[in-house]
Every structure is written in structure tokens, then in C-alpha cells.
């Protein structure tokens, strides 16, 4: 992967079960619980500020709800 | 050419002829000749033999090998078969082919090591939990130990269901002449679809095999499908009959009890008695229709090495249209020819 590629943090809100692990371990404190709920009644995590794309939220997420992708992979 | 073979050894040769890939078993009398001889023969034929740590492990090793579409088998005797019932239920639920042999001994409990026929209900009525059936073959000679075991794999794969060979300690331990090929015949490939096996999802979608069906109504539908299959097994009904065209009383048995009946039948006919002879080759599916037809002119004398299990299926088939009498001995006692003859004479009067 080339440096400088634009990254995106994807949060699959429908998969999220509000365990809070990503929020707890985010080194930048940029994740928080959303005010709204998903179809299963959970407040999904959302990105509040600048993300460093370290991947810790992906690592600790038990719900397959977080991915970090290259922007071009998305637009494709 | 006929040679002297032991039933348990002939069974091993039959399994090899049926293309057995993997055998898993745990020693128990009176079938120890099976794992012993099998351990040598499977090595010689470069196939898989493993002595398991228990019958629970044996049947679940069979389950594992069956998942991959291989021909897998285990053998045991009554107490060991009881332990396997959970695994057999899972095999049926998962629709997996496998062959299980029960060389029956006396029970209940640890019982004894004599040949017996006390496991008929367990075999044909679904011995484990749930609502199911097993194709149940009942060998009567050393030759049939070979042939039925050989042919059981085809049946197991045809229906994707375990096949049980319900033998007994007498047939297993018996030595008699049998005509077995000198060499293991070439493996016969089956024409059945194998699009269900688990062998790694290379170049195809991943698959799963399970018996847990939790979705609303799903298990009910699964059971209906299984029972369609059990109904189709009717085609496999097999029996042998002699003298039934003019018999007033027909002797009914299977395995060792049928061998005793055959002697009684022959003496009765020699003495001019109108006796008939009928023996099951399949206990499930059960030859109900044929017995029902025969009941229009004949009564029946059922003999078993138990206090009466198969006789209940005969009574259901006959449905009160003629007399059904029973004589049996439990726990390894052999029905006595004189006794059978005596009852036959009384019934014919």
C-alpha cells in the first residue's frame, strides 16, 4: 500500500451492539456513542474527530462492525 | 471356492469389498475379531484404521470421516452400541452415510458375552433421541456377514443415512464355509451426488452440515424430508421364504433364530407337517406387506433370542387376521428346536 492514500473508517451501524470497546480503546478519543439507535435498539459508535486509522477499533470490535478502507476501494 | 471363515472375519472382508475407507472402533466381546483383523487388513490395503478411546469417540470419528464423503464404519456389541446412540442420531440428523455393526450380546446392562437378539427395538425403532429410522440388515450366515457388509455402503450413500447391520454373537463367532473372493475386488464408485461433502471450499461456496435447525418450522420440514426418505427405503425390503404357498403355520425369525427355525421347518416338512419358513433380511424396512398377504391363509410362530421384540412388528403386519405365537429365550439362551417343533405341532392341530 502506498503512503498518502486516503483512508476511510467505516462503521456498520446495523452490526454495532454498543459494547463500547472501540470507544474505550481509541487512542485519539475520537469515537463516541451516537444519539440515535439502530434497528436493534443499540446506539452505534460514530467518529467525532480526526482518525489516525491505527486500526485498534477494528481489532477490538467483536461485531464485525468496523473496517478501514482505501477511499478508492469504496468509490470503485 | 468355499473356505472356512469366521463371521467376524468375513464381515471385515465384506467391508473392504464395499470400499471402506476408514474404520474406527473400540474393543468389546463378542466382536473383538473385527478390530483385530481389521487393524491388519486396513494396513495391508493402505486404508485408515484407528482404535478409538471409547465408543463415543468411535461413532464421532465415523461422523467426521462421513462429513468428507468417505466410507466410514464402526463395529461394536450391545453395550457399546448403546453408547453410540447419540452419534447415530446426529448422523441421521445430518444425513450422513455410515455403516454400524452390532454383534449383539446378552443384556440388559453389562449382561453377558453370549449371542443374543435383545437390541431389535433399539435398532429398528430409532435407538437414539428424535424421530428416525435406520436401514437394518440382519445377516444369517457367514456368507451374509460378508455380502451384507459389502452392500451396506451403497445403501448408506444412496439414502445418506446410517445403515445398521444387526448381527449377533453366534453369527460373529461361528465358523462355516463361505465363498469370498481371494482378493479385495476393485472399488465400486457410487452414482450418487456428492455435492454435500466437506473437504475444503476450493472453487466452490463454503458449506455447512448440521442437525440444529432452529428457524421457525424448519425442523418440522427437515423431519418430513427425512421421513420421505425412510418411506423410499421400502424398495430395499428383503426376506427369504420357503413352503409358504401351502403352509398353515409359518416360522418367522432372523439371524440365528432363523437358522434354528430352518432346521425345524425341514424336519416338519419331512414329517408331512404344513409348515412354512420366513426370515427377515431387512428388519427396517420390515416386510409387513408380505406378512400381511401370508396371514390370509397362515398363522405364525415367531422365534427370537429375546422375550419378544420383532414379534410386535409381525403382529402389526398381521393385524389380528391370524394367530401369532411367540417363543423366545433372552440373554444368550438359544431357542430349542424341540420346543419350537412342539408349539408348531400344537398350532397345526
Amino acid at each position: 500500500m502506498k503512503a498518502g492514500k486516503k483512508k476511510i473508517l467505516l462503521i456498520n451501524e446495523e452490526y454495532c451492539k454498543e459494547c463500547g470497546f472501540c470507544i474505550k480503546f481509541c487512542p485519539n478519543n475520537t469515537l463516541a456513542k451516537k444519539n440515535t439507535i439502530n434497528s436493534r435498539g443499540f446506539h452505534p459508535a460514530e467518529l467525532k474527530g480526526e482518525c489516525s486509522f491505527c486500526g485498534i477499533c477494528y481489532t477490538v470490535c467483536p461485531d464485525f462492525a468496523i473496517e478501514i478502507v482505501d477511499e478508492e476501494q469504496i468509490s470503485r | 471356492m468355499k473356505k472356512l471363515w469366521k463371521g467376524n472375519h468375513a464381515l471385515v472382508e465384506g467391508a473392504l469389498a464395499g470400499g471402506l475407507d476408514a474404520y474406527f472402533g473400540y474393543p468389546i466381546t463378542p466382536q473383538n475379531e473385527v478390530p483385530e483383523y481389521m487393524s491388519l487388513r486396513m494396513k495391508q490395503e493402505k486404508r485408515v484404521f484407528l482404535q478409538a478411546e471409547s465408543e463415543l469417540a468411535s461413532i464421532n470419528m465415523v461422523f467426521g470421516a462421513a462429513l468428507t464423503g468417505k466410507r466410514a464404519m464402526t463395529t461394536s456389541s450391545s453395550p457399546g452400541i448403546s453408547l453410540m446412540q447419540e452419534g447415530i442420531s446426529y448422523l441421521v440428523g445430518c444425513e450422513l452415510p455410515a455403516v454400524i455393526v452390532n454383534v449383539q450380546r446378552g443384556g440388559p446392562g453389562l449382561g453377558n458375552i453370549a449371542g443374543a437378539q435383545g437390541d431389535y427395538f433399539q435398532s429398528v425403532k430409532g435407538g437414539g433421541h428424535g424421530d428416525y429410522r435406520l436401514i437394518t440388515l440382519t445377516p444369517f450366515s457367514v456368507q451374509e456377514m460378508y455380502e451384507m457388509t459389502r452392500d451396506s455402503f451403497d445403501l448408506a450413500f444412496k439414502y445418506r443415512n446410517p445403515v445398521l447391520i444387526l448381527a449377533d454373537g453366534v453369527i460373529g463367532q461361528m465358523l462355516e464355509p463361505a465363498d469370498l473372493p481371494e482378493k479385495v475386488p476393485p472399488r465400486k464408485e457410487f452414482p450418487y451426488s456428492m455435492d454435500w461433502i466437506l473437504d475444503g471450499a476450493a472453487g466452490r461456496d463454503s458449506r455447512f452440515i448440521r442437525s440444529l435447525v432452529m428457524d421457525e418450522g424448519g425442523l418440522e420440514q427437515h423431519n418430513y424430508r427425512l421421513w420421505d426418505k425412510f418411506a423410499k427405503m421400502e424398495k430395499e425390503i428383503s426376506w427369504e421364504e420357503h413352503g409358504t404357498e401351502d403352509a398353515d403355520v409359518i416360522l418367522v425369525g432372523y439371524g440365528t433364530s432363523a437358522r434354528i427355525n430352518l432346521d425345524v421347518y425341514n424336519s416338519a416338512r419331512k414329517n408331512g407337517l404344513k409348515a412354512g419358513y420366513f426370515r427377515l433380511r431387512t428388519a427396517f424396512p420390515f416386510p409387513s406387506k408380505r406378512l400381511s398377504e401370508l396371514s390370509s391363509r397362515s398363522g405364525f410362530l415367531v422365534t427370537e433370542m429375546s422375550m419378544g421384540q420383532m414379534v410386535e412388528d409381525v403382529r402389526l403386519a398381521v393385524s389380528g387376521r391370524s394367530d401369532v405365537e411367540f417363543y423366545g429365550r433372552p440373554a444368550g439362551g438359544l431357542p430349542e428346536e424341540e420346543k419350537i417343533y412342539g408349539i408348531l405341532e400344537r398350532m397345526l392341530k
Binding site: 500500500m1 483512508k7 446495523e14 452490526y15 451492539k17 454498543e18 459494547c19 463500547g20 470497546f21 480503546f25 486509522f53 491505527c54 485498534i56 477494528y58 481489532t59 477490538v60 470490535c61 467483536p62 461485531d63 464485525f64 462492525a65 468496523i66 473496517e67 478501514i68 478502507v69 482505501d70 476501494q73 | 476408514a22 474406527f24 485408515v48 484407528l50 478409538a52 478411546e53 463415543l56 469417540a57 464421532n60 470419528m61 465415523v62 461422523f63 467426521g64 470421516a65 462421513a66 462429513l67 468428507t68 468417505k70 466410514a72 447419540e86 452419534g87 466437506l198 473437504d199 475444503g200 471450499a201 476450493a202 463454503s206 458449506r207 455447512f208 452440515i209 448440521r210 442437525s211 440444529l212
Partner: protein, 242 residues
């Protein structure tokens, strides 16, 4: 770095409770199979317990065995398909209670399979009863006053199995922090790598969160592992024959 969900996972949400460790462990196994390019060679056995539904989430061949019998079923598969990767995924009840005999003998035979053993110190699926790995004083639905000596000692699976000659690699890991999860992933890959090189029996024990069974919040469940489980179940490599 990009972090995409592995091909070895199906893209569907799972039904495990919030904070349950199974999702993380499922993903670690899936990521490892992807990275080692073993997905298409793998046949897995799911247990009876919460993870019985593993086959809904894994995108490789999977079957479900009777309770406690995955090591026997895996043995059956591996013996007839020795070039495939065969794994079992088992909980503490499945592996250490009802399946105690099967796991000991599979390990002792050096059966060339990888066992992923999830220890959450309780029976999750049936509602939080005592497991063989439940700790003293731990309250479960069948030890309402806490486990006592009358119930026996918690079973230490890594310690128990590591003395068997057939075992090539055993490690205990936890999935309650990013660092622990990364170590756990290394252990999974090591076990699978050993199997691919025919090194014999491998097992990774995961200390895993069960917030529902422990009756704590997901966040508290992370601390619960540190505070309560690590003293009884120390992390580390218990055997490595290389």
C-alpha cells in the same frame, strides 16, 4: 493501514451478546486462515454451546458435532483428509467437561488438528451455569452462592494437556485488550502454521468475555478477565515443541 474483514467471514451480523468475545475470536481465526491462504483447505467443527452457530459466520466448510465430541469428529476428518486443515472451536463445557476424554486422547495421539478453546468461565448458551473453568466464589446460576470446593477446582486445560507427548504447541491468550488480541492472533497463526507443517496437536485457549453470564457490562467484562481470571489462568506458552 486498511483493515478489511477477511474473506473467511461471511458478511452478516452475528447474534452473540454485546461484548461477547466470540466475535473477536471468530474474526482472528478467519483472518489467520486468510493470511495463511488456508481458507479453501479448511474443515472446521463447531461445538455445542454459543459458538454452535459458527457455520453461519465462517466462510469455510464447517460442521457441528455432538457436545464434547469435536476432537473425535476432527480426528475422523483429518485421518481421511490429512492434507486439509482441520480445526475445532470449543467452549469450556464442550471441551473441559463433557468432552474431557476426547480432547485428552486427541492431544495424546498428537492428532494434527488445531483446537481453539474459548474459556469464559461459564455456560453461556444455557444461561450462565457453572463451567469446569468457573472460579471459586464465582456466582453462576448453579452456584448461586459462589463456587466452592464441593464443586471441585477450576480445570486448567493448558496445564493439563501440556504434559502429553503428542502436543506440539499450547498457549493461553486473552481477548480483552488490543495488545492481548494481537498476541492471540499470533497464537492462532502459529497453531495453524504448525498444523500445516504436520507438527501435531495444537491448542490455543482464549480467556474470553461473557458479560451476560458474568452479569457485568461489556466494559467491566474486560477488567473482569484481568482481575479475576488471570490469577487462576495465567497467560503464556505452555508448550512449544517448535
Amino acid at each position: 493501514m486498511s483493515r478489511r474483514l477477511p474473506e473467511s467471514l461471511k458478511k452478516i451480523p452475528h447474534t452473540y451478546c454485546p461484548g461477547c468475545g466470540h466475535g473477536i475470536i471468530h474474526r482472528l481465526v478467519a483472518e489467520s486462515l486468510d493470511e495463511l491462504e488456508l481458507r479453501e483447505k479448511t474443515v472446521a467443527i463447531a461445538p455445542v454451546g454459543c459458538a454452535v452457530f459458527g457455520y453461519h459466520y465462517w466462510n469455510f466448510d464447517t460442521a457441528e458435532a455432538a457436545h464434547g465430541r469435536p476432537p473425535a469428529a476432527a480426528t475422523g476428518i483429518k485421518r481421511v483428509l490429512p492434507d486439509r486443515i482441520v480445526i475445532t472451536y470449543q467452549g469450556d463445557g464442550d471441551l473441559a467437561a463433557i468432552g474431557g476424554n476426547e480432547i485428552i486422547h486427541a492431544a495424546n495421539r498428537g492428532e494434527n488438528i488445531s483446537v481453539f478453546f474459548v474459556n469464559n468461565a461459564c455456560y453461556g448458551m444455557t444461561g450462565g451455569q457453572m463451567a469446569p473453568t468457573t472460579m471459586f466464589d464465582q456466582v453462576t446460576t448453579t452456584t448461586p452462592l459462589g463456587r466452592t470446593l464441593e464443586d471441585g477446582y477450576p480445570v486448567k486445560v493448558c496445564e493439563l494437556l501440556s504434559v502429553l507427548e503428542g502436543v506440539s504447541y499450547i498457549e493461553r491468550v486473552a481477548v480483552n485488550s488490543p495488545a492481548n488480541i494481537m498476541k492471540a492472533k499470533k497464537a492462532v497463526k502459529k497453531a495453524l502454521g504448525y498444523q500445516a507443517r504436520n507438527r501435531g496437536f495444537t491448542l490455543v485457549e482464549f480467556l474470553s468475555m461473557c458479560p451476560t453470564g458474568w452479569k457485568v457490562s461489556p466494559e467491566k467484562s474486560l477488567e473482569w478477565i484481568d482481575e479475576r481470571m488471570l490469577r487462576i489462568f495465567p497467560l503464556g506458552v505452555y508448550k512449544d515443541k517448535g
